[in-house]
Amino acid sequence: MPAHVGIQARVREPTNLDSRFRGNDGKEDVGLMSTDVFFEMEKLLLRNIGVPDSQTLATYQSRGGYASWRKVVEGMKPEQVIDEVKASGLRGRGGAGFPTGMKWSFVPKDSPKPKYLVCNADESEPGTFKDRLLIEQDPHAMIEGTLIAAFAIQSHTAFIYIRGEMVFGTQQLERAVEEAYQAGLIGKNIFGSGYDLEVIVHRGAGAYICGEETALLSSLEGGRGWPKVKPPFPATHGLFGCPTVVNNVETLAVLPWILERGAAAYFAMGTEKSKGTKLFSVSGHITRPGVYEVEMGYPFKKFLEEDCGGVSNGKKLKGVIPGGASMPVLKPEEIEKVNLDYESVAAAGSLLGSGGVIVMDETTCMVRAAWNIARFYAHESCGQCSPCREGCHWMEKIFHRIEYGEGQKSDLDLILNIAGNIMGNTICPFGDAAAMPAGAFIRKFRDEFEAHIAEKRCTVRG
């Protein structure tokens, strides 16, 4: 079994862009397109990426697409699908890593209410762009996965909640859903089985918090994108108070492969507790940024140095965030023995999260980096609960004054204290997501912060 596959993503100007779709800046949105495929090996998630017209139904079906869907609808019971996915060891790829099959099994089977499957395509975690690649280049894979998951919980309405800024992605996805409807893959009486399923694509309005599953549901309900207090959990009281499963794009996109090849084939890949492959979005000071599909358990250092070509321009590595901006930064010495799986990254004091790998070289000012991240969270805090609403902005203001030469000696401990007061005390994980990186930057690069405060200037960039 080859260790991993990698593909590099580059930006291109898409053609035939509908003029409706424009980014926040008024410019036309641009899509990601894959080009160089490094390794000729079996790919699970990226198997169609790079193939000409990969986004079309014709291409997708010519490569075996929707065979799993037919197999599921025509020959399987919902419980069998759940069991198969449980047996595969698949864990949710949205960041929390919760076992997917188990999540499905929490949906009550005897509920008189409608059940909903929601695909979380609100990918917004800074440094993460893997779902975007799938949405833009292989929308049918995630649609097929959405259908399979919906069938597993016997939902008749599935929603794909896509990030509002993904203008090109929405266009690709809507076309693909329309194609699938036309082909009878979605709709009434699918394959003559009597099973009905509607798929509705819903664009978000541009809030990071709407990637959090309960905020997503609030937004989908037409309300303010506010996380809901738990319990109750979405599995029993989700969308419109009905049983709901929310799955990430990457989680869903691998389902056709699992159903096609069997749980055992997926279970055979990866580590004891982290199965299969995972997509990593690599960005920052790295020679070959892009989206990579990596078998779980692959050595982090080797991945960065060999597969991604190492730190760009021959510079030294200063720090790397392994799982998107909300996860603690790791220093070079901390990743020596880390492997790319949930347990190994957690043991190193960070989290695998969304797999958004942000590489920072020796010229990076960690004060500015920390402030940049703090600013993001201050801007995106929904404002619902007190510690996050007040704390995120407070931290941002202190990072800001350190960055601009007005920091005080006591500021570092103050931020650590504020972060500690937010951590674990909020409605949703956003508070932790803001507190973790703030604390990690200070703890791990304290000298740099202290020098910044003492000299009232940046000591890294001069």
Binding site: S381, G383, S386, R389, E390, G391, W394, I427
Partner: protein, 526 residues
């Protein structure tokens, strides 16, 4: 209701399945601090002030959204809990203007109270507070100060869940989140001012009350709203013998936590303005002051001679007053027609949440006491307009103000007695005018529309020269040779409990602050 045993701060507490920790603790006398939680609103869980420790759970949990479980060990005073309360207090105060010296909420502000209980530290925040809208008018009765707001969303939930009028929403994000009216909306629903009561801080204040009195100077008297026959439980809050505001008192059998705006502000009309302070008698050229002795003698003589008599009692008179009034009128003339003022109006769905269609808080009690000739108030007024009476005794109601047609009817009477607190249009027509007291100056009982007997208490002292209605009725009874001498409303109530069937067995003291139900099928004089 399955019993559930929990361990609350080491002590065993028995509660019921499905109860939240915050409620179970409150029932056991342990107050867990909170802002967003309100027993009548949905759980928001946003203030994080009620975080408590539950054994075997790694993270602190909000007490408002955690249901009790058998054997659950809850710590409300552990070091972790005390630390997080302190932290939440700090978060809530960093962008707060701390303008207590000019804030009306000062003295009844949960930010002040909890700061003193749970923080008491100097602020570590020195990087510039967020500025928000000040003195923003939300509606006729409510004004908003965005900088004092802690975004607990009680007001938003009240308008969504209680009145279902949806005027308010949270807008913007992060620390710029604020409460705002929907475009084009005005917070003018019939219960709008309740948002002021449930606002735990000084963000929403009462436009009528603000800047009038510091709350710690208020003298608070539990009483009953005189606005209508719902009988909402209120606290009459007075300063320097003037009623400054009404606040709702919780009574789940009547008004829950709320009162309507009409009731809340009705004291201005009922208790404000210039008072009558001396009895008056009509002479050539108009009404001139006289002594009580002469006035009452004139009333007795006039009413005894000019028959038939129409007697109209105010809907705000107490049961005790109505009891004496019925006795008096029957003593004066067996043919007299007597009724309690009663008039209905159409109510909207939102008004119906609390309001009754009348403006006669004790019409039911008055009828129970015998103030009824079985024809009804409208019939009596019809006869009055038709000229069927020679004399009338009108207590506490401005009939002319209510219907101008009645002016001519009253002018034709050979004898008119008006007993009231103010110089109304009706009072101006009187042959004898008796200065009486209003609802806030008397003690007694009201029986609400649903038959709940509740206690009214005197919140302010009547002006010199005015007499209690019951005193006037007793003196007139004495003039009519009916020697009844009660020295207190409780003595009159004891007589009611003896003589009025539906009230038999009731005890004045046991009415308490929450009232008692009449026995089913109650009503009607003995």
């Amino acid at each position: 209701m399955d019993p559930v045993k929990i361990i609350l701060d080491g002590k065993e507490v028995v509660t019921t399945k499905g109860t939240t920790v915050i409620k179970a603790a409150a029932d056991a006398g342990v107050a867990i601090p909170h802002y967003c939680y309100h027993p009548k609103l949905s759980i928001a869980g946003n203030c994080r002030m009620c975080l408590i420790e539950i054994e075997k759970m790694p993270k602190l949990q909000i007490a408002c959204n955690t249901q009790v479980a058998e054997g659950m060990s809850v710590l409300t005073q552990s070091p972790k809990v005390l630390a997080v309360r302190k932290a939440v207090m700090e978060f809530l105060l960093i962008n707060h203007p701390v303008d207590c010296p000019i804030c009306d909420q000062a003295g009844e502000c949960q930010l002040q109270n909890y700061y003193m209980e749970h923080n008491r530290e100097a602020s570590r925040f020195e990087v510039g507070k967020i500025h928000d809208r000040k003195k923003t008018i939300f509606g006729p009765n409510v004004i908003f100060d965005g900088e004092r707001c802690i975004k607990c969303t009680r007001c938003v939930r009240f308008c969504q869940e209680i009145t279902k009028t949806d005027e308010l929403a949270v807008v913007n994000r992060g620390d710029h989140s604020t409460i705002a009216l929907f475009d084009g909306a005005v917070l003018d629903n019939p219960l709008s001012a309740n948002v002021v009561d449930i606002c735990p801080v000084g963000a929403l204040t009462d436009r009528d009350f603000r800047f009038k009195v510091r709350v710690w100077y208020l003298e608070k008297t539990p009483s009953i709203c005189p606005g209508c026959s719902t009988g909402c439980n209120i606290s009459v809050e007075a300063y320097q013998n003037q009623i400054a505001r009404f606040k709702p008192r919780v009574n789940e059998a009547v008004n829950s936590h709320w009162i309507c705006d009409e009731g809340r502000y009705c004291f201005h009309d009922l208790a404000g303005g210039e008072r009558l302070t001396a009895p008056m008698i009509r002479q050539e050229g108009g009404l001139v002051p006289t002594t009580w002795e002469q006035a009452l003698q004139a009333v007795y003589t006039g009413l005894s001679s000019a028959k038939p008599l129409a007697a109209i009692l105010c809907g705000r008179n107490t049961n005790e007053e109505a009891f004496l009034f019925a006795k008096l009128i029957k003593k004066l003339s067996l043919e007299a027609a007597l009724e309690v003022f009663y008039q209905e109006r159409e109510l909207t769905e939102t008004q119906k949440i609390l309001m009754s269609p009348d403006r006669a808080p004790n019409f039911r009690g008055a009828r129970d006491m015998g103030v009824s000739s079985n024809g009804g108030f409208d019939a009596l007024m019809g006869k009055l307009v038709a000229g069927n009476f020679s004399s009338a005794y009108v207590v506490g109601e401005d009939l002319v103000g209510f219907d101008e047609k009645i002016r001519a009817a009253l002018q034709k009477l050979s004898f008119l007695v008006v007993q009231d607190t103010h110089m109304t249009e009706t009072a101006k027509l009187a042959h004898v005018l008796l200065p009486a007291v209003h609802f806030g100056e008397k003690e007694g009982t009201y029986t609400n529309r649903k038959g709940r007997v509740q206690k009214l208490n005197a919140a302010v002292i009547p002006p010199d020269g005015a007499l209690q209605d019951s005193e006037i009725f007793m003196q007139l009874l004495a003039a009519a040779d009916e020697a009844v001498r009660y020295t207190s409303p409780s003595e009159i109530f004891a007589a009611i409990a003896r003589e009025v069937t539906a009230y038999q067995g009731l005890d004045y003291d046991s009415i308490g602050e929450q009232g008692v139900e009449l026995r089913s099928g109650g009503g009607g004089a003995s």
